[in-house]
Every structure is written in C-alpha cells, then in structure tokens.
C-alpha cells in the first residue's frame, strides 16, 4: 500500500512539470533571444560545451585526452584505483584466456620460467627448513624437556613444541558481519584445528556485545584483544565487518596494522555487499586470499642456516657415494677373483652370484689343484666377503692325471712317470713290490687306461743283500774247524764250537729260505798221517759222524745235515770241516 502511494505522488509531480513546460515551449524562440542578449558571446561557448557533453562522440574525445593523466593522478592519491579496476581486469584477463589462450601464454612466457624456478626453489628451501626443524626437535636435549613439559601439563607434544619454538602463529582469521555476528569468511592455518567457525564467530560477537553492554562504553570503543592462556584473539572493527585473528604467542605490533589494512581493503572492495548483507556469504569467498595474508607464522631463529639438515644431507650423500664406491670396488675385485679362479688349472667355477652375504663362488676342485683360497689370497683383502664353496672333482687334464698318478703311486726318484695320451709310461728302476702296486692300481687311476713299463728295470735290493750275507755265512761255516785228540773221535770241549756253528747254520737256513733256497751242510772228517790208511779213514768217518750226531742232538734239523762225505781234501790234521751246498 505504502509503496503504491509513493509511486502515485511521484507521477503526479511529473505531470505538473509537463503542464508547466508546454506553454514555455511555445515561447522558446523569445527565450532564446533573451538568453543571447543576456549572455552574449559566452552563451555560444556554453551551448558549445553543453553540446560537447551531450554528444557521446565528442565527449569521449574530450575525456580521451585526459584519461591517462587522471588515472595517474588518482593512483598517486590512494589505492582505490586498483581496487576499482581489479574486478574488471580480472574479468578482462579471463575473457582473454577464454578467447585466445595462446596470446596470454606468449605474453607470460618470459616471466613464467623464472617464476616457476623461484617457486620450486622456495618449496625446496621450505622443505629443507622443515626437515631441519624436525631434526632439531627430535635430536636436541630440549626436546626431552618439552616431552616432559607436555606430560606434565597434559598437552600434546606438538603443541608444546609449537609454543616453545614459536614467536607467534596466526591460527585463524575470521571475517564477521558486525551486526549479526554471522561468519562471512574464515581462514585457517594448516597446523591449527578449529571447532565450528560459524559458532565461534557468533560467540566472538556475543562477547563483544556483552563487554560493550556491561561497561557502557561507546560503540566505537570495543574489545581489542581477548587473552586466553597462550591464545590471543585480536579484533579489528570496521564499519560493517569485524576481523578476529586467533594468535598463539606474541605477534609484533605491526600485526594490528596488517589487520586494519586488510579490513580496510575488504571494506573498499565489498562495501556494497557488506552494507546490504542479508545472509548470503558466497560473495565473500573473494576475501579468502586477503585473510590468508594474515595467517603469519614466525619461528624462533628462523634465519639460522639449516646446519643440521645440510649436515644430515651431506652425510647421507657421502655415505651413499662411499657405499656405491665400495660396491663398485668390491664388484671389480670379485670379478678379478672370478677370472683368477677360472684361469687356475684344476678349478672349475660353475656358479658365481652376489647375495646379501657377499659373492658366492661354486667351485669344482681337483684334489691336485691349488686351494682356491690360495688363488685369490692376494685379492682377499679387508673384509670383502668372497665365499668359496668347493666340491671335489677329478680333472682329465694331462697334468692332473699325471699328478694324480704320482700321488697315488708314490714312485721313487729313480722312476720317471709320463703320460702319452691315455698311457702311463713308467721308466727307470723300481722294486718288485712297487711294480706289483703299479700293476694293481695303475689302471684304476682316473685318466689312465694303459700302462707301458717296458723300460722299467726291476731291482730288488734285498736279494742282493741276502746273497751277500749267505756267502758270508757259507764262508764262515766252511772255515770252521774242530780239532780232535790224537787217534780219538770223541768230542772234547765241543760246546763253544758247536754253539758258533749251530748259530751260523740257523742263520744260513733262514737266509737261504728267504731266497727260496735249501741249504745243506756236509760234515767231513780227516786224520793226520800218523796212522794207517784204513785206521785214518775210519777215524775220519767216526769224527764226522760224532759231530753230526752232536749237532742233531743240539736241534739242528736233520734235513740240513748231509751224510758225511768221505774227506776229499788231503789234510794232515785231526779235525772235521764243513761244506755248504745250496739247492
């Protein structure tokens, strides 16, 4: 109802104006003349000017002449120009990108590269600093105290760390509609946790209201800060919006200025929306970057060169390099060892690999070959793990066959072994027993199939010695004499003689047997020339028989003592003598 009334009266006024105009139009010429009379030449200029203002084209021309100067002038006065232009420029730029992206890309190309490089550099720098920060925290003795502190105060460790290392941190910034306490925009630092910002916004306003009401202050004077333990809420009142910043620690005085600056800028940019705010907060999304500008953090000693991080990095890199150098060196040595093992006769490398325990070599070793460890001894320095796993095998290489034959046959220095194809050629002099062994074992040696021993001379050193000994015994026995008394064949004082002869005979018997012979000892008697022939003959026989009987009686085997022969030797003596025959 009210509105319609208003409209009606307005229309009525317009109508009356029209009514007054129509008679005046009729006397237009007269009035014009009067004007010319009154204003003279000035009138011409004025109407000219008026024409200029009304004529779009001419007016534009006029403005065009001064527009740059005007902009420059205004820009010198305050920031309003950039605030005013920025939505337009933003829109223009996005239009341009939509229209033809390559044009803007080309224009930006020279600045993009450096900008990207710089931002990467910054990110790296930041990462390094964060890393350093972490290291310092986890390494220092301080951190122990902090943990204790956290335990004592029941706060989380990270909270305590933040407290101790922070000069200040702006955790949250609220942009609040002053009248309703509604939250227009909210910025939160990544480290901070926030309860429902809408509700906090309301409570902050309620607190403000409460204080203002309770202490009867004027509405211009309002709560500037609110202190809660380490948290401080800074308020900045604008005509329509209030900014509230939740800060941990002690920010510098300039922080308040920053809040003021930002709040003013928000008011400049969004004055209309703030004034007519009816609960639609979407438009204030644009303020987020501005609020985020206020999310500042200052750590203690941030300018410090990140020694620890750099040190750690250098150590890691150094260790890495050293490790790779070592690895490379070890690999070289391991391969060299492999070469040496492969080149070594009698060793066959059948497997080579690198495991966690080092380098593993699977080796077949001929018993005659050099120990693999000896082969690589020169290379095996330090604690380089070269592990040799040796299994025996028999090599068929001629040198190994020969070596094996020598090892098995153990030839004396007089024997010379050589290999011709698969034939073992044996030359030189050897004992029969060795030869026997050679025949038995020779063809069992791996790699030997035939034996050639035509040039082997068998020499038995024992037989020679026995023959010699036997000769000596024969001679000793044959030169032994036993003398009788005149005309007697009884054995007087025979013991000594018998003992000696019996020993010789036994030795003879043994030695002859060793040579595969049978000895026979014949006993002959003789007499002197004094008696008659017949008597002497009888006496000689009796004497021989007496000795024979005695010897038999003493245990000499009967087979050894032969029937006494008639004494052939003409001896003029009263004795017996012996003769040895070997069969």
């Amino acid at each position: 109802m009210l509105v319609t009334e208003g409209l009606d009266s307005h229309a009525a006024i317009q109508q009356t104006t029209k009514q007054q105009d129509s008679p005046a139009a009729q006397g237009l010429d007269a009035l014009e003349q009067l004007r010319v009379l009154l204003l003279g030449a000035d009138y011409q200029t004025l109407s000219e000017l008026r024409q200029q203002l009304l004529d779009r084209e001419r007016y534009s021309l006029h403005v065009a002449e001064v527009i740059s100067e005007a902009l420059t002038l205004r820009a010198q006065q305050d920031n309003s120009l950039s605030d005013a232009l920025f939505p337009t420029i933003e829109a223009a730029v996005s239009r341009s990108v939509e229209h033809n992206p390559s044009r803007l890309a080309n224009a930006l190309y020279p600045v993009m590269g450096p900008a990207i490089r710089r931002s990467i550099q910054e990110v790296l720098q930041q990462a390094l600093e964060t890393f350093n920060h972490l290291l310092e925290q986890s390494l220092s003795v301080r951190s122990l105290f902090w943990r204790f502190d956290a335990w004592r105060t029941g706060r989380s460790y990270s909270e305590v760390v933040l407290l101790k290392t922070l000069v200040y941190q702006v955790e949250q910034v609220f942009l609040i509609h002053r009248e309703s306490g509604l939250l227009l925009q909210h910025a939160l630092s990544p480290q901070a946790i926030s309860k429902d910002a809408d509700m906090i916004s309301g409570m902050l306003t309620a607190i403000q209201d409460f204080i203002r009401d309770s202490f009867q202050v004027t509405s211009d004077n309002s709560l500037k800060t609110l202190q809660l333990d380490e948290l401080t809420v800074f308020f900045n009142q604008g005509p329509y919006a209030m900014m509230a910043a939740v800060v941990r620690g002690n920010p510098p005085a300039e922080f308040n200025n920053l809040l003021t600056e930002v709040n003013e800028q928000i008011h400049r940019q969004h004055f209309y929306f703030l004034k007519t705010f009816q609960g639609d907060t979407s438009i204030f999304k644009r303020c987020l970057p501005l609020l985020e500008r206020c999310l500042k953090t200052q750590l203690r000693d941030t300018k410090k060169f990140p020694w620890l991080a750099v040190l750690a990095l250098v150590t890691f890199t150094g260790a890495g390099l050293w490790w790779s150098y070592q690895y490379y060196q070890h690999k070289l040595i391991a391969e060299e060892a492999l070469g040496a093992l492969r080149a070594e006769p009698g060793l066959v490398v059948v497997g080579f690999e690198k495991t966690d325990e080092g380098y593993q070599y699977e080796i077949l070793k001929d018993p005659q070959a050099r120990e693999p460890t000896a082969v690589i001894q020169a290379l095996q320095k330090g604690n380089l793990p070269l592990n040799l796993h040796t299994k025996p095998y028999l090599s068929l290489e001629p040198t190994f066959v020969l070596a094996r034959a020598k090892q098995i046959l153990q030839p004396s220095p007089q024997v010379n072994l050589s290999l011709e194809g698969k034939t073992l050629v044996v030359q030189g002099q050897a004992t029969p027993s060795w030869q026997q062994k050679l025949v038995q074992v020779g063809s069992l040696i791996t790699g030997v199939e035939f034996l050639e021993q035509s040039k082997l001379q068998i020499i038995d050193p024992d037989a020679e010695k026995l023959t010699e000994h036997l000769g000596r015994l024969v001679k000793q026995i044959e030169t032994s004499r036993f003398n009788f008394s005149l005309g007697s064949s009884s054995l007087e004082n025979v013991q000594d003689h018998a003992q000696q002869v019996i020993a010789l005979i036994f030795d003879l018997l043994k030695t002859a047997r060793l040579m595969g012979k049978m000895p026979q000892v014949s006993i002959s008697g003789s007499a002197d020339e004094t008696g008659s022939e017949t008597i002497n003959e009888r006496l000689a026989k009796e004497r021989a028989l007496a000795m024979r009987d005695y010897l038999l009686q003493q245990g000499v085997p009967a087979a050894v003592i032969a029937v006494p022969k008639p004494d052939t030797g003409r001896r003029d003596e009263r004795s017996i003598h012996y003769q040895v025959d070997l069969f």
């Binding site: 429902d196 809408d198 309301g202 309620a206 609960g279």
Partner: protein
C-alpha cells in the same frame, strides 16, 4: 550459501535451551541448567530449493534481575519467543519482549512457541491467551522439547519466513 541469525527469547526456564538441544542434537534432559549470557548453535535446513544455515542464539531468559541485552538482538533475521504454558508470567514476558523488538528492530520474522505441551494438564495459558497471540499475525506453535513435538515445525516455521521467495507464502 545463506546464513541467518535467529534468537530464542522468553522468560527463564521456559525451555529455550531444551528446544534448541532437541532440534540440533536430538537430546532432552530434565535437569535445569540456566543459561548464562549467550550460547550459539547452528543447524542446516533446506527450505524449498534454498540451503540455509541457522545460527541459533540461545539467550539467557529474562527474569526480574536481568533483561535481554539489545546488543545480542542486533542483526537477527528472526526470533522465536518461547512461552511456558504452565506459567502465566512467561506469557507476559513474551508479549513484552515481542513489543520491544518490534520497536527496536521493526518488522522481523517471528514464531511463538507454547512449550511444555506434554504438561497440558497444568497449563494456565488458555484459549484467550492463545487467541491474543494469534492476533499478532505470527505463527503460534505448541511444542514439547521433552516429547519432540512441534520442534521441527517451530524452527521450520521461522526458517520459511527467512528465505526470500518463501517469505510471502
């Protein structure tokens, strides 16, 4: 994103806090803990095709010693005046508050809640009282925070008035 500040007003102990608790957190307690100052809650609602966030200010009830601070009422888009059906005094306080806001803030959306409907046997508010309220041409809704009766309607009754295209419906 539309946000609106609304206030719950009324005498002390009429059930303002209980109504909000019931509405926002689906809880009810027989214990009476008087509200000191202001407590703020929020609730998302959808009216037609509009998403709306209600920032609900629970303001300490009026009694002989404290009257509601005007500062808390600034910028509100609507309010709920709560009356305890079992107390005549709460009815008087409600009318006085309503009048005061009308003079201070002009025409804003409002709803009257006749709370403690589960105790109707003990009600002292009768038809005449209710009729008088209806004369003010704002919705009057019987509620029970205890039994969750009319609570949703109460807040939606206000929310509907807050969304522009629905305001005349």
């Amino acid at each position: 994103m539309l946000q609106k500040k609304i206030c719950l007003l009324g005498a002390f102990s009429v059930g303002k806090t209980s109504l909000i608790q019931r509405y926002v957190n689906k809880l009810f307690s027989d214990k009476y803990l008087t509200t000191v100052g202001v407590k703020i809650d929020k609730k998302q609602v959808t009216v037609g095709s509009t998403d709306l966030t209600l920032i609900v200010w629970d303001i300490a009830g009026e009694d002989d010693f404290t009257s509601i601070r005007s500062a808390h009422l600034r910028g509100l888009s609507g309010y709920i005046v709560v009356i305890d059906g079992t107390r005549k005094n709460s009815f008087d306080v409600a009318l006085a508050l309503h009048k005061r806001i009308k003079t201070e803030l002009g025409d804003v959306a409002a709803v009257f809640a006749l709370n403690k409907a589960d105790l109707k046997a003990q009600w002292v508010i009768n038809h005449e009282h209710i009729h008088a309220l209806a004369q003010l041409s704002y919705p009057v809704i019987e509620t029970s925070a205890k039994l969750d009766q009319g609570v949703e309607d109460l807040f939606m009754g206000l929310a509907r008035q807050l969304v522009p295209e629905n305001s005349e419906v």
